[in-house]
Amino acid sequence: MSVTTGRAAPSGAAGESSRINATWQEVAADGGLAAPAHHDLALDHTQLRSLYRLMALSRRVDRQAINLTRQGALGVFASSQGQEAAQVGAVFALDDEDWLFPSYRDSVATFARGVDIVEVLALFQGSWHCGFDPYRYRVAPQTTPVATQALHATGLAMAARMRGDPIVALTLFGEGAASEGDAHEAMNMAGVYQAPVVFLVQNNQYAISVPVSRQTRTESIALRAPGCGMPGVRVDGNDVLSVYGAVRAAVDRARAGGGPTLVEAVTYRLEAHTTADDETRYRNADEVATWRANDPVQRFAQTLRDLGVLDDALTAEVEAEGEELAARMRDSLFGAPAGDPREMFEHVYATPTPALNEQRALLDGELSAEGDA
């Protein structure tokens, strides 16, 4: 059982969409955050249900990943809980041929893009740095050094534009990562080359223990857009429809040759930074509780119930699918044999060097001595 790529319908899809509202704030070309503006979304009920399914499954696999980490099947895990609207909503705005450049935080975005969850988790399992084929899913490896992937996304977008291919690159990074030089260089170069790339900053209020107020003094990360000559948008990152709408508008503009956009999704990380982090050292339970009341998965479920799009049958169906997924995660990740250590020599270069062959022979000898070979 695999999750299919979530993507938007072609424009001009079925009409029930007009009742659906998304809201975001635009930054004027010369700066200045405008008042929130409302937009109609072109999403039909089928799409809304797909989106719900991805959100709910995302929450389920994230919870299961935390469990599996506690139980030792994963070495560490960086939860996306609380950020499902930002991640799933953004990915849902991509077309099949587009590319995603996620970070360690974006396992749920990667999953929503269609990557098998077990392959996603290889990184955290410690079996390999990237467990999936980037070309198969058009998803780059989840990147650990923050902000660096923003440049890869920009470069890929530049290349696609040069080739005349109508594809868009979406990259996700945090408000902390936005302090890095690479974030600025990526946005500036994307502006210069009018690269079809969308920068989605998930402002989840913390960079490990450091609150956004000590990360930057700007009122909004979106205010960095005019300084690189691109549109900027600030959106409620816990409202999946607004995130979808804002990112979709940016993707459409990029594809049409309108260049990059910076989108700041204001959200919250509900869990600790990773399973190795102790969040009680830097934030209090009240704050977490306040944001938990704004849970993006429940909120979307409620919206859909209000719209009459979500009923108990669908909820149950998705829940069952989630349990199936969780079970498969457990089965695949628990007690998985470590790979052959000799594989470490295989992918350094297209052809191993003489030195690597010698070193491999050394390891071969050791493995034979251990009786492992």
Binding site: T144, S179, I208, T216, V348, Q359
Partner: protein, 323 residues
């Protein structure tokens, strides 16, 4: 008392801050959280957020502002959260930290310390297990230090903080929880001096940082083979105390250098080359190297096959003895 290396480092920082109010500490998560390894734990509480504070996620920024702080007369001690995240600061380190005194004809020295946990062995994800010492050691103008024991962690860090020149202080993260009986404060041998950790006559093992303990373990295991192995802890990578290494190699005629970093153009090559040049006539075998392989640090599940262990070290000693 029994102290872990983490506690020794924390105490060294605290003692230095008490003695010298020009010492300021900053970096990612070093304030409220006390660092991801808790090396700066409690410092913000004791000295206030003026002297121990969190920075944005901005390694070049951290090191570059430390240059300005040192220029103004403070003694900044900055943390790179992990080895693999020290690379964005390499330009500031190579182009400025290392060169400022020379550039200004000795008028402006930069008494700053760049601390970072380094090395593998803790089951971490990519970029958290790098051994970047070759980059720093090759950069003229830097002093590069790595302690192998809790006591040395204390005394070397105190020395680094009092040093007139910039020190890159490499903390062997998998030894943070290593324990030693030692009374703090302890003042050990100064920066620039290697130490014979175990005397022996058959062969010399040369190690630093995380590999000191492994080399000592190997030396103990070697007793069963009838070998009496001397173990030297390099302690200061730049400047290297070649005299101590040469005295040992002259005595034993056989030396093996051990480090986690990949071998090719690694720090061990310098030891092998310099030592050979100095004591060529006394060597019964070439200086051998036991190192990580020439590849990006592997995933956690197979890292123990990458890291030099007792058996790999003993095999090399055997090869040296067979010459």
């Amino acid at each position: 008392m029994t102290v872990t290396m983490a506690a020794a480092l924390n105490t060294a920082l605290r003692d230095a801050m008490r003695e010298d109010d020009s010492v300021v500490i900053y970096g990612e998560d070093v304030g409220t959280l006390g660092g991801v390894f808790r090396i700066t734990d409690g410092l913000q509480a004791e000295f206030g957020a003026e002297r121990c504070f969190d920075s944005p996620v901005s390694e070049s920024g951290i090191v570059g502002t430390a240059v300005g702080m040192a220029l103004y007369g403070l003694r900044p001690v900055v943390e790179m959260q992990f080895d693999g995240f020290s690379y964005p600061a390499l330009d500031q380190v190579i182009s400025h930290v290392a060169k400022y005194r020379n550039r200004t004809r000795g008028r402006v020295g930069l008494p700053m310390t760049i601390r970072m946990p380094y090395g593998g062995g803790i089951g971490a994800v990519e970029h958290h297990s790098e051994s970047p010492e070759a980059y720093y050691s090759h950069t003229a103008g830097l002093t590069v230090v790595s302690p192998g024991t809790p006591g040395d962690a204390y005394s070397l860090l105190r020395s680094a903080l009092a040093h007139p020149d910039p020190v890159v202080f490499l903390e062997p993260k998998r030894r943070y929880w290593m324990k030693e009986e030692v009374e703090l404060p302890v003042s050990g041998e100064p920066i620039g001096r290697a130490l014979v950790r175990r005397a022996g006559a058959t062969a010399t093992l040369i190690a630093y940082g995380p590999m000191v303990a492994t080399a000592l373990e190997a030396a103990e295991a070697a007793v069963a083979e009838g070998w009496d192995v001397e173990v030297i802890d390099v302690r200061t990578l730049t400047p290297l105390d070649l005299d101590t290494l040469a005295a040992s190699a002259t005595k034993t005629g056989r030396a093996v250098v051990v480090h986690e970093a990949p071998r090719f153009a690694g720090y061990g090559a310098e030891i092998a080359a310099a030592l050979t040049e100095r004591v060529f006539g006394h060597l019964a075998a070439p200086v051998l190297r036991v190192t990580g392989f020439d590849l990006p640090y592997p995933p956690a599940k197979i890292e123990h096959h990458f890291l030099p262990g007792v058996d790999r070290i003993l095999d090399a000693v055997a090869r040296a003895l067979e010459y």
